[in-house]
């Protein structure tokens, strides 16, 4: 049984999501809360495998919850829930530590696939996200060394560029003669690099601004 916690401020949507998740026999919603504060206290008290977080919360941004949770328990799998899965929201969530996203309108089946993929390794990368990641890593390669992120391996780049064109994991695996699991592993690595790099960049930025000295 997989313990899932949900952070979503809209009651109707939250209830509906709970229903949709719970209809899968493997999943159990252990908590469904509507604010950052509740989310934090809930995470302190419950053992959770998967955390689903909406971004626009009444007392703050879901990104903060994601970053806090990712820092607190690195083994926790986090996904962001959004209406459209648009680039900016998903990428900022991934940078904070999320691995993939769910659309609020996704049905039970899709939610099940996405969560299982998440637990197996990586979550699908949407073409827009892949496009963003390609640009981001390309740009960091031309940056000065201090802010340079860990570069992508050529295999990871191949996967990203295929994902950007809308190919599914299965298709990518077939085209590159890899197993689907290997592709998922690679995408997980890509997510981690992005998250680690953005954390490193944040530390660099903080030290540059003198914030770390004050702590």
């Amino acid at each position: 049984m997989i313990n899932i916690a949900l952070v979503e401020d809209d009651d109707i949507t939250r209830r509906s999501l709970c229903d949709r998740i719970s209809s899968d026999a493997d999943f159990r919603v252990v908590a469904a809360v509507g604010s950052c504060a509740e989310a934090r206290s809930m995470l302190c008290n419950r053992s959770v495998d998967v955390l689903l977080v909406d971004l626009g919360l009444p007392d703050g941004n879901g990104i903060d919850v994601i970053a806090w949770a990712a820092y607190r328990s690195p083994q926790l799998k986090i996904m962001v829930i959004t209406v459209f899965g648009d680039e900016k929201r998903v990428v900022s969530a991934i940078k904070a530590g999320a691995i993939g996203y769910l659309l609020k309108s996704d049905g039970t089946q899709q939610i099940g696939i996405a969560i299982r993929q998440l637990l197996d390794g990586g979550s699908p990368i949407s073409p827009a996200i892949a496009r963003h990641l390609i640009r981001l890593f390309a740009a960091s390669e031309t940056c000065e060394s201090s802010t340079r992120s860990e570069p992508l391996k050529s295999r990871e780049q191949e996967i990203l560029s295929l994902a950007a064109k809308g190919f599914s994991y299965g298709e990518i695996a077939q085209m590159l003669r890899l197993s689907v699991n290997t592709v998922a592993m690679h995408t997980k690595t890509i997510y981690e690099k992005l998250s680690v790099n953005s954390r490193a960049a944040a530390v660099y930025e903080a030290s540059r601004l003198g914030l770390l000295d004050r702590i």
């Binding site: 109707i12 459209f84 309108s105 949407s126 892949a130 963003h132 640009r135 390309a138 809308g166």
Partner: protein, 630 residues
């Protein structure tokens, strides 16, 4: 050719000496008829020829050199007898090429010329002298020309004397005067002028500071020649006057040596220090001796003063030659050549002065002309080079300014792009927030409500379509940067739900397509709508089991056929059975394709339908990196 040049340079000073020899020979020519090379001489301090003793005269051959004691002025009387057949009416003249002394001239006991004090000796009186007198002073028969000469130093008293009609002797005198006096005066003026130019250069251009030393050398050299030209000392003792000339020569050699060391880049502080100490000590001796002891010491010059100067000159010429061999630049070669030129003449003069060579006049002063020419040439070359360098620098600067402004302009364009991108991004963010918090969230709410109430089931499909439409709009306003592949990819994601529900297999064949130029939100949305419509048509009407979406870049192969991007949606359905039902959608697709400047073709039969959209292709500049950084 080069060897020829070197031989030429080596021979040049000797050719010059030969030239000067013949010039002096021309100037020193005599009219044999009017030449008096014998005279009676007596040493007497008497100032009136009528009071001279009758006895004690000696007959000597002119030029006559009498050795005096060197400390007090020696007064000599020379008497030349002139036999005239008949009285003369024209103007006559006495021409004394070189007295080297003060003089007084009497014709038949009448004084016709007086040159300076008879009480105070002069050191050097090198000017040729020419005195005209009326021929009527001469009478038929024997006439007496008496010349009194007062000189200080040992050698030289009266040269060969010519007495005759002025019109015969004047040209000889004028030629000699020009060579011995006028030319030297011009030389001094030129030296001062060039010296001033060089000193100015030294002040203005620190890179040419080395020429300051040459200017100093030139001033000393000019001073030495000027002293020779001045018959009467300006002040004090005549010995001091002579010594000043010798000090000027030494100063000239020392400053020239400084110049050469700096020019060839030789760092010889001990050598220069020794030279300076020697020069200062010698100069002090040469100034104090005549003032305190009133002694004259020609041996000092011949054996102590000049030989080391000659050695220094030889050494410096050696340095110049080595530098020219090393550097091989025009300036060094010219300097070495002119150095050799002056050195040979200087050594010749020194040898004459030491009585090692009996060759007549000193020529070193006459080498000033060639020296100035060479230095003038070097300076001109430097000036020309500086001008060329400046022009070159200016041209380069212009080019660089042009490059910079081009780069600046490009940056400006880029900045504008970024600015536009940023404005678009802000706008996008605002719309996105609105959609998320507003209409998007509400649609999701409605969808959630509908899922639980069977009565609302019919609204589910339209609401999903609505969300899909909104998603398309959102995808179109994302920073796409001309990436058609990802735009189609997002469409696949948006439509996958419907395709899966319909159980249709999707063949996804998107090739590598370079980034498109001019692929803004509006065009993106048009493309998305066309492809969405094509897929939706296949879903709704074709009863297909399989849909293929392809995108490829068709390279330009002919001029009529420019590069294009082709997007195809093909199904294996039954084709468009009802043209009327498909008509509306098709018309919309065609309109959108026309707005994209593209071409839409529909190929439909019983085994399937193929919709093909062709868009003109223009590759985008690579702005990805800049945009991603922003």
């Amino acid at each position: 050719m080069k060897g020829f040049g070197i031989v030429g340079i080596l021979l040049a000073p000797f050719a010059f000496i030969a030239l000067m020899n013949s010039w002096f020979a021309f100037v020193n020519r005599v009219e044999p008829h009017y030449l008096y090379d014998r005279a009676a001489v007596i040493q007497s301090d008497e100032s009136d020829p009528r009071l001279l003793p009758a006895q004690g005269w000696k007959t000597v051959k002119l030029p006559n050199r009498t050795v005096g004691n060197g400390t007090v002025p020696t007064s000599l009387w020379y008497r030349v007898e002139l036999d005239i057949a008949e009285p003369q009416n024209e103007l006559w003249a006495v021409y004394l090429p070189r007295t080297g002394a003060n003089y007084a001239l009497y014709i038949n006991d009448d004084q016709i010329a007086d040159g300076g004090s008879m009480e105070r000796a002069v050191p050097l009186h090198l000017e040729p002298l020419f005195f005209e007198f009326s021929g009527r002073m001469l009478h038929a028969g024997k006439n007496v020309v008496a010349i009194r000469v007062v000189r200080a130093s040992a050698s030289g008293a009266l040269g060969a004397t010519q007495i005759g009609p002025s019109k015969v002797l004047a040209p000889i005198y004028r030629a000699a005067y020009f060579l011995k006096t006028t030319l030297m005066q011009i030389t001094v003026v030129c030296m001062l002028a060039v010296g001033l130019i060089m000193a100015t250069l030294f002040r203005l251009r620190s890179r040419d500071a080395v020429f300051g030393w040459f200017a100093v050398a030139l001033f000393f050299w000019a001073a030495q020649i000027a002293i020779l030209l001045r018959p009467e000392p300006l002040f004090g003792d005549w010995r001091l006057w002579i010594n000043l000339q010798c000090i000027a020569i030494a100063c000239y050699v020392i400053s020239l040596s400084f110049f050469i060391n700096r020019f060839v880049g030789a760092h010889l502080p001990r050598f220069e220090k020794t030279l300076t100490v020697w020069g200062v000590a010698g100069a002090a001796l040469l100034i104090l001796d005549p003032l305190l002891f009133r002694s004259s010491m020609p041996w000092f010059f011949s054996w102590v003063w000049f030989p080391p100067l000659s050695m220094v000159t030889i050494y410096q010429e050696y340095q110049l030659v080595m530098s020219a061999r090393r550097k091989r630049d025009v300036d060094s070669m010219y300097l070495a050549a002119i150095g050799w030129f002056v050195l040979v003449n200087g050594l010749r003069d020194t040898a004459i002065d030491m009585n090692l060579l009996h060759a007549g006049a000193f020529y070193t002063s006459y080498t000033v002309g060639p020296v100035l020419l060479v230095f003038g040439f070097i300076l001109l070359r430097r000036f020309a080079r500086a001008v060329v360098t400046a022009e070159h620098a200016r041209d380069e600067l212009e080019i660089r300014v042009a490059q910079k402004s081009a780069a600046l302009e490009e940056n400006l364009v880029r900045l504008k792009d970024l600015e536009r991108e940023r404005a678009l991004s802000a706008e996008r963010e605002r719309i996105m927030r609105d959609m998320h918090d507003g209409v998007g969230g509400q649609l999701v709410q409605v969808l959630a409500l509908a899922a639980n109430q069977p009565a609302l089931k019919p609204v589910e499909e339209p609401i999903r379509n609505c969300l899909e439409d909104l998603s398309l709009i959102i995808d179109s306003i994302e920073p796409v940067n001309g990436d058609l592949g990802s735009v189609l990819g997002m469409l696949r994601v948006r439509m996958s739900h419907r395709l899966e529900e319909a159980g249709i297999k999707l063949c996804w064949e998107i090739a590598d397509i370079p980034m498109l130029a001019d692929f803004g939100p509006q065009r993106v949305l048009q493309v998305l709508r066309i492809v969405q419509e094509a897929i939706a048509n296949a879903l709704k009407h074709s009863r297909a089991t399989q849909i293929a979406v392809r995108a490829v870049l068709c390279d330009a192969d002919r001029i009529q056929d420019p590069a294009a991007v082709a997007i195809e949606v093909a199904d294996n359905g039954i084709g468009m059975v009802s043209a009327r039902r498909a008509g509306h959608g098709l018309k919309n697709m065609r309109r959108r394709a026309a707005e994209l400047n593209g071409r839409l073709s529909v190929d439909s039969c019983e085994t399937g339908t193929k919709v093909r959209l062709e868009l003109p292709f223009f590759a985008a500049r690579d702005v990805n990196v800049a945009v991603a950084r922003s």
